[in-house]
């Protein structure tokens, strides 16, 4: 299989296996050593690069971990490494502002940080310190303690904030980026160059290969095997526009990335909880690649999206040779990593009923480190509450069973009850009988059991702060 893409300002081709990691392609095949190997599991950000996709006449750039990216998926893309951002003989403004605060000590994480910042600068509509810091949530630095980096963030924002308010449309935007020294001039010519490359529409790759949609967990678990692996890539691009609200349902394509979910106005208008909590799911570069379908099918018992949508009583739409089957997400999980998914069947859509009036929803994720960490326990809760009576409710929890768990008995008990502390405490007692956590590095089983209780209390205290007293529940 031959793959052609533009690496910085050069057209390159790869004849390697589809699974060959981009990180190694960049360093070993192209001898660009500014992209560093820190962990090969998307947890440090030293290998962060920019992935550019042609959308009409402009290019949409995203910061991604090159250790988790298959070269086979790059047909017609623009890949930007630190070498493609540098300006000969001088520092670009972002680099200069980092240098001024001495925001680089050993220098190993630095190219990744510059790329993450550049990725943000290329896409931000309005600049904010908060969002630029979020753009750095996938970059670890062991030397600086981040303080000098944050000072640089402040100066970058104050240097460019006003300029950004004058930015016009996407077409002219890149000219401004070049004028302000965010990226070199050659970026202007990339759309035309990409158009000249055959832009095979995904799914691409090898038809017989393992099917992936993002693949961010696959590389973490099996990177040694990826060098010679064939892969089949599902389309994970531009699904945001396909998110649809029809009748009483919201439909989300399985290939939608977590970042698209996070930033879909359509979705966040019906589920504001997404804007509040999706920043806690992995990191910016991983959110840019990880997909809804991938997270659901990967079937980790702690999968954030599975837990989130379980409590919304979501359904999955499965397809095989144009025959579709709709099943409840809670019935999709049979046992540890075992799904109700037939040979050849694919997850195409997820749908959930639009929340009704007087329905409230809340998501909790508790992990050792708040950001870029896997939850010890996560939980979502949806509740319809009218005239002081619980009409309906659904609770899900991760990290407490072999599958993303839907707690049936808990919900059944609460329906028809008044919202009172004793009732909630009784329901917690029921929830405890529905789970069986195991001890591991993310916590002892006793801790996870306690966390489930705390999550339930957190759901109620967050949704009904006026009706309940914390002291009665703690």
């Amino acid at each position: 299989m031959t793959i052609s893409f533009i690496l910085n300002n050069t057209l390159v081709t790869s004849e390697l296996s589809a699974g060959y990691p981009l990180l190694d392609f960049i360093r070993n095949e192209q001898n660009l050593k500014g992209t560093k190997i820190g962990c090969r599991e998307g947890d440090c950000g030293a290998c962060t690069i920019l992935l550019g996709t042609l959308v009409e006449n402009h290019i949409d750039y995203k910061a991604v971990n090159s250790c988790l990216l298959a070269t086979g998926e790059l047909q017609g893309k623009h890949i930007v490494t630190i070498e493609g951002i540098n300006k000969s003989g001088e520092l670009i403004p972002v680099q200069q502002l980092l240098a001024d605060e001495r925001a680089s000590q050993c220098g190993f994480c630095t190219p990744g940080i510059v790329n993450s910042i550049t990725g943000y600068m290329l896409t931000a509509i309005e600049l904010s310190e908060e969002k630029l810091i979020e753009a750095l949530d996938g970059n670890l630095c062991r030397c600086t303690g981040y303080t000098s980096i944050k000072r640089s963030v402040e100066s970058i924002i104050s240097t460019f904030r006003e300029k950004y308010s004058a930015l016009q449309d996407k077409e002219t935007r890149m000219q401004a980026m070049v004028d302000w020294g965010i990226v070199p001039e050659y970026f202007l010519s990339i759309p035309e160059k990409l158009k000249a490359i055959e832009n095979k529409v995904s799914p691409s790759g090898d038809s017989e290969g393992k099917i992936i949609a993002g693949g961010t967990d696959l590389y973490v678990q099996h990177y040694d095997e990826m060098y010679t692996k064939n892969l089949t890539f599902l389309n994970i691009e531009q699904n945001i526009s396909k998110i649809e609200i029809k009748d009483t349902y919201c439909y989300i394509p399985a290939g939608t990335s977590v970042d698209e979910l996070y930033h879909s106005e359509k979705l966040t208008s019906v589920l504001p909880e997404i804007s509040k909590t999706f920043g806690l799911i992995s990191s910016t570069p991983i959110r840019n690649r990880a997909t809804l379908g991938g997270n659901l099918v990967n079937a980790s018992p702690i999968a954030d999206l599975a837990i989130f949508f379980l409590a919304l009583n979501a359904e999955v739409i499965l397809e095989k040779e144009s025959k579709t089957r709709i099943i409840a997400l809670k019935d999709f999980y049979l046992d540890y990593k075992k799904l109700d998914l037939n040979e050849g069947e694919r997850l195409i859509w997820l749908r959930f009923s639009l929340p009704k009036k007087n329905t409230f929803f809340h998501f909790e994720k508790i992990s050792k480190r708040l950001h870029l960490d896997i939850a010890s326990v996560n939980s979502a809760f949806s509740i319809s509450y009218e005239n002081d009576i619980i009409k309906d409710c659904s609770l899900s929890a991760g990290g407490v069973a072999a599958i993303p768990k839907y707690l049936e008995n808990f919900s059944r008990y609460l329906i028809g009850k008044e919202l009172k502390s004793e009732v909630i405490l009784n329901a917690i007692g029921i929830a405890r009988t529905e789970v069986m956590p195991i001890s591991d590095i993310r916590g002892s089983k006793e801790y996870k059991s306690l966390l489930l209780e705390q999550c339930i209390i957190a759901h109620f205290l967050t949704l009904f702060p006026e009706k309940l007293k914390a002291e009665d529940l703690l």
Partner: protein
């Protein structure tokens, strides 16, 4: 803006060893490692692996031409296992292959036949079985027996602190290239080029002059590449010589986390006695250090634990004993603070416990007992100044401690689901290697005929900015702009018999050596002018790249002067040696002036605790720190901030746990969590307490690398205080890291007890 190495960092152009362009025939190595923590290796079947695609060869203990020995202080560590398997990840041999994938594939085809034994992982268990790395040591002062009788309050408790992974972003690595006549060029990511040179020479059975070790820069180290970098370099040397090809070894992150030593976990018992007015009268402490399977630097670390057992306090009667215990874990090693943090955490826990029992403010006990001028440390050294006390008081006033405390109390009265906590953490850290002989450094300075300057020292640049400081020293002596000065790689042929870049002292000692060497050259330059102009030397001055005589600009620029001096056949090079003066330590009496000086300071930490979820956030850390006269404030501030955040990580979320067979459960970055940009404190403020009284560092500067790490301990007590604000009187076991799990399990211990026994 000065063009500096930071420019190449920002452009990704700084070369690390894994980035080097090596000959195409370079072998890539993979390590065959022990899968069990304890046992006996009976047989290694390499047949299938050897036949695997791309494999060139496999080297085991028998293939070592010299000594199969790594230990620097105590010779108890093999490069490759001979019989005994002592920890998971212990190297048994290496596979050399054409590329990394072939090496990895072959690794899976190695068949090990072994007998597995039950390992020992707890240092107290090891101590009971008398499994010690060296005999225990005791530092003593005063009279313990009579002291206890005078105490009104006596507190006894146990304190634990966990292992910590260095998590340098650049993993361990090395390259060996063959030179002329069997010489081996080694590129090693090491803090200790001489240790690599010495050990490789011994492993290879070669004289040290046949081994040249070169270190350009390290992608972080923090102590983790002091002794722990050596083995990988030795493996590349073995393979390069054996197969007559360059050889490279880079550990993957998982391997690095599994194979390499970490900060020592400690378990300690203390007894603290106070008078009823809060004066500490007696302190007895027993430290059980978890040394891991071999000595590495454990005994030196243990020694520093004893040196810092009383931290910033004067205690008239002290008995501190420490034992380095041998367990079936990775050989634990140097890590920023070098046993000091573990010691300070114990005493600080004791003080917090005493304050609670006596109903005192912690601050009052801390302040009442701070060490003052003319007080004596348990090791017999006298305190020369009151900087520690001044920093403490300045922290209180400069950062409005009382007001802050009031605000937090008010907040806690009105909030249930969130509580705030505050703490004060004074530090006092001795500067110098406690092994006196290591307190020496050298510098080689060349002034080239175009006026540019090249400097080689024994200091290794690992992000701490030592190269920049060396430049600043030379630039001050020569009054030369910094861009004319280059710091060369650290290389054993230009700086021989060097001490490791460690103990915070590299900038001090190498900086002093640079200063001496530059002064030597400067003197020659001045002598030359004096001879030519018949002016006295003291009328000459170099300023801004120009020579002034009696305050008047002469015709000599720096460049033309250098040229003229060269023509006069005078050396423009100098080599200098520096040995820290007036330090000594007698291990028989455990007394002596072991340190050149102490670095002191105080941190105020404020945290917010989520009482429902057990998670916490570090709001701010405000620090008054003793910098001497900072050579480079931006670098020094960066060191304080970075060390602090590592220290906070150690006592909060950096959690290493082993399962019952000694496997590290935090062996990926998905499971081992260091502070990220959100976890780091919202605000870190550093107040420069500058004082010119230290004459030991170049231009009155002070060492900076390690001391600020210990400010991080304050986060532990701030969280603890927030927990107590939620549950007054709560019994919190003194155990770091105080993970969100421990917090929640402690806050709700009654609920858990009820559940256990209530049904």
């Amino acid at each position: 803006m000065i063009k500096d190495f930071i420019h190449s960092h920002l452009k990704g152009e700084s070369v690390f060893i894994d980035d080097m362009n090596l000959p195409k025939n370079t072998l890539i190595l993979a390590v065959i490692a022990s899968p069990v923590a304890a046992g006996v290796l009976k047989n290694i079947d390499t047949k299938e692996a050897l036949a695997s695609d791309g494999v060139i060869g496999i080297l085991l203990a028998d293939d070592i031409p010299g000594e199969n020995e790594l230990g620097n202080i105590i010779q108890d560590e093999k490069l490759f296992v001979e019989n005994e398997l002592e920890f998971i990840g212990q190297p048994i041999g290496i596979i050399a292959a054409e590329n990394a994938q072939s090496a990895k594939k072959a690794l899976k085809k190695i068949k090990l036949d072994f007998e597995e034994h039950t390992g020992i992982f707890d240092p107290r268990d090891a101590y009971k079985k008398n499994l010690l790395i060296a005999p225990p040591r005791t530092f003593q002062m005063g009279n313990m027996k009579s002291a206890w009788e005078k105490c009104d309050v006596i507190i006894e408790d146990r304190v634990d602190s966990g292992m910590q992974e260095h998590l340098y972003l650049e993993t361990q690595n090395a390259v060996t290239i063959l030179g002329d006549n069997g010489k081996l060029f080694i590129y090693s990511s090491t803090q200790s080029p001489t240790a690599v040179q010495r050990t490789v020479a011994s492993v290879m059975g070669l004289p040290m002059h046949q081994i040249e070790v070169d270190v350009l820069r390290l992608g972080g180290a923090f102590g983790g590449k002091e002794d722990q970098a050596t083995a990988w370099a030795a493996m590349t040397a073995l393979a390069a010589q054996k197969f007559n090809r360059p050889a490279k070894l880079v550990l993957g992150r998982h391997e690095d986390l599994t194979y390499t030593g970490k900060r020592h976990a400690y378990s300690s018992d203390y007894k603290l006695g106070l008078s009823k007015d809060g004066k500490i009268l007696a302190y007895e402490v027993m430290f059980y250090q978890n040394g891991g399977a071999s000595a590495d630097l454990s005994t030196a670390i243990l020694e520093r634990t004893l040196f810092h057992s009383t931290n910033s306090y004067y205690i008239p009667n002290v008995s501190a004993t420490a034992a380095s215990c041998k367990t079936n874990l990775v050989p634990n090693t140097a890590y920023r603070g070098f046993g000091g943090p573990q010691a300070m955490f114990v005493l600080e826990s004791a003080i917090h416990r005493a304050a609670e029992v006596m109903n005192f403010e912690v601050l009052d006990i801390q302040r009442k007992n701070l060490i003052k001028k003319d007080d004596t440390f348990p090791y017999g050294m006298k305190v020369l100044d009151n900087h520690g006390l001044h920093c403490f008081d300045r922290a209180l006033s400069h950062y409005n401690y009382d007001k802050k405390k009031q605000k937090i109390d008010d907040y806690n009265r009105t909030h249930t689901l969130k509580k705030k906590g505050l703490s004060l953490m004074p530090i006092c850290f001795g500067i110098s290697f406690t092994s006196t002989f290591l307190n020496q450094a050298s510098a080689l300075v060349h002034v080239y005929t175009d006026g540019s300057v090249g400097i080689s020292t024994g200091a290794v640049e690992m992000g701490q900015g030592v190269n920049r400081k060396m430049k600043l020293v030379a630039s001050k002596v020569f009054s030369l702009s910094i861009d004319k000065i280059k710091i060369e790689s650290t290389n054993t042929t230009r700086a021989a018999n060097t001490s490791p870049t460690a103990a915070s002292s590299a900038a001090d000692m190498n900086g002093n050596a640079v200063k001496i060497a530059c002064d030597m050259i400067l003197e020659r330059l001045k002598d030359f002018i004096s001879e030519k102009t018949q002016q006295k030397v003291d009328t000459l001055e170099i300023k801004n790249n120009h020579i002034f005589i009696n305050g008047e600009k002469s015709h000599w620029s720096w460049k033309s002067l250098v040229w003229d001096v060269y023509f006069s056949r005078t050396s423009l090079s100098a080599q200098a040696h520096y040995a820290t003066p007036n330090i000594f330590f007698d291990k028989k009496t455990e007394k002596g002036d072991a340190f050149a000086y102490h670095v002191v300071g105080t941190a105020i930490t404020e945290v917010t605790l989520d009482t429902l979820r057990g998670q916490y956030h570090i709001d701010s850390v405000e620090i008054v720190h003793d910098f001497g006269e900072s050579l480079d404030p931006l670098t020094d501030r960066g060191q304080v901030e970075g060390a602090l955040v590592q220290g906070i990580g150690w006592v909060t979320i950096e959690d290493i746990q082993h399962n019952s067979v000694g496997r590290n459960l935090a062996d990926t970055l998905a499971t081992y969590k260091i502070p990220d940009i959100y976890f780091a404190p919202d605000k870190i403020d550093v107040d420069f307490y500058e004082n010119p009284e230290n004459s030991k560092g170049p231009f009155n500067s002070k060492a900076i690398g390690e001391p600020p790490f210990m400010y991080g301990i304050g986060a532990y007590f701030a969280i603890e205080n927030a927990m107590k604000a939620f549950r007054p009187g709560l019994d919190i076991p003194a155990s770091a890291p105080l993970t969100p799990e421990k917090v929640l399990m402690t806050l709700y211990q009654e609920k858990l007890l009820y559940k256990k026994y209530g049904h």
